[in-house]
Amino acid sequence: MATELTFSEEISNLLYAAEGNPINTCIQCGTCAGTCPAVEFMDHTPRVLIGMIGANLKDEVLNSNTFWSCSSCYHCTVRCPAGIDITGLMYALKRYSMWKEQYQEDLIGPEFSESFVKMIMRTGRSFEPVLAPTYVTKYGTRGMIEEARTASALFLKGRLPMLPKKIKGIENLRQMVKRIIPVGGPS
């Protein structure tokens, strides 16, 4: 009879194949928090979050905006004296929280990630004019006006394409991805 993994073990397993050291080697020094350029927008610093994972505070971790505020700049990773790939951990937590469908309601990251992947599966390319409506409504009135001003300025300079382009062999790409990730329904 298999024993159930703790949350901390589950997250460690997600990083099992990564290059860095396991997260339980963290010495809580806070170099990551001091380095992170987005730390003031996080509800917990990376150091605190790693401590929370160790303490198995699953709900608190998944409801945190910390990993969704990570811009993947790898500055913490290259500076971590314990050699932990903290950026890799943030990616792992994004995947885990989407897999468990547990995340803060007002975040744009999870929905954006989903619509982005769906778009790539549809056309093989990113196309902002179709993506934008999926998130811009969450910006509030002022943010939406700002984005509209920016978009129209880009359009006037001929920097916004009007029609999405599909890659050649998109059907083959879909078949390829299906061999790696089950995308719903029996294969």
Binding site: H75, V78, A153, M176
Partner: protein
């Protein structure tokens, strides 16, 4: 997805060059993982077979700036420059993923190769502290406030050092620094007007390529001061010839 792009290059026997740091980082490390992990390579090749593709990991992955610095060489560039951008203060913006995660023994905190390229085209590289600090990347979509703050920090640092132009090596950084500069100004009550140019645009100017062919004129933060400078240099050169 990355392996598919690498396999397409491999099929043609070509090197893989990315103009964007994020694409470069993903391609570079995917290639290494596939070379070092045969189980992973088997699994990926099973998927690629659905598209009649296969990957051996024999392709070389490079960022575009490495092509100019390592393959062409700074000496060669210096020799080819016809319009040196003398006196133009250019801030080399490395951003994150060109130099991170760490590859071999590279300098992830204070790299110098971009400064070398800027010197080679006759301009003055600006020494500033935030050259490898993040521009916010895709947070500009998913966490606008955080990203605008990160762009603000970079612009302020560049402005403090009397920067004429920020040179970028990634289209995404370029967008954040250039396209969102007006939003930063409105958000922070600042008055930044620092053009950001992809490094090949500056290189092209120094090589005498017509500005229109370099996409100059499509920017939201006017490059006019840079061009004015460039043209006055040309006039100066001509005067010298007479």
């Amino acid at each position: 997805m990355v392996a598919r792009n690498l396999a397409l290059a491999e099929k043609e026997g070509l090197d893989f060059v990315a103009p964007c740091s994020g694409c470069y980082k993903n391609a570079y490390f995917t290639n290494i993982h596939l070379q070092e992990d045969p189980d992973l390579a088997d699994h990926i090749n099973f998927a690629l077979a659905a598209d009649n593709l296969h990957i051996d990991g024999t392709t070389q992955v490079k960022h575009l700036i490495e092509v100019f610095i390592d393959d062409v060489g700074l000496e060669e560039i210096e020799k080819t420059v016809t319009r040196p951008l003398k006196g133009l203060r250019v801030a080399p913006y490395y951003g994150c993923q060109l130099v991170r995660p760490k590859k071999d023994d590279e300098d992830v905190e204070n790299p110098q190769f971009f400064e070398g390229l800027i010197s080679a085209i006759g301009a003055d590289p600006v020494d500033y502290g935030t050259k490898t600090r993040c521009c916010g990347g895709s947070l500009i979509i998913t966490n606008r406030k955080a990203a605008l703050d990160m762009v603000y920090e970079l612009l302020q640092d560049a402005a403090n050092r009397n920067t004429d132009v920020i040179a970028t090596i990634c289209p995404m950084c370029n967008i954040n620094l250039e396209v969102y500069q007006r939003q930063v100004n409105r958000e922070y009550g600042t008055d930044f007007s620092i053009p950001a140019m992809y490094f090949t645009q500056l290189l092209g100017l120094a090589l005498g390529v017509a500005p229109g062919r370099l996409g100059i004129g499509k920017e939201l933060v006017s490059m006019a001061p840079t061009l004015l400078f460039y043209q006055s240099e040309q006039v100066g050169d001509r005067a010298g010839e007479r």
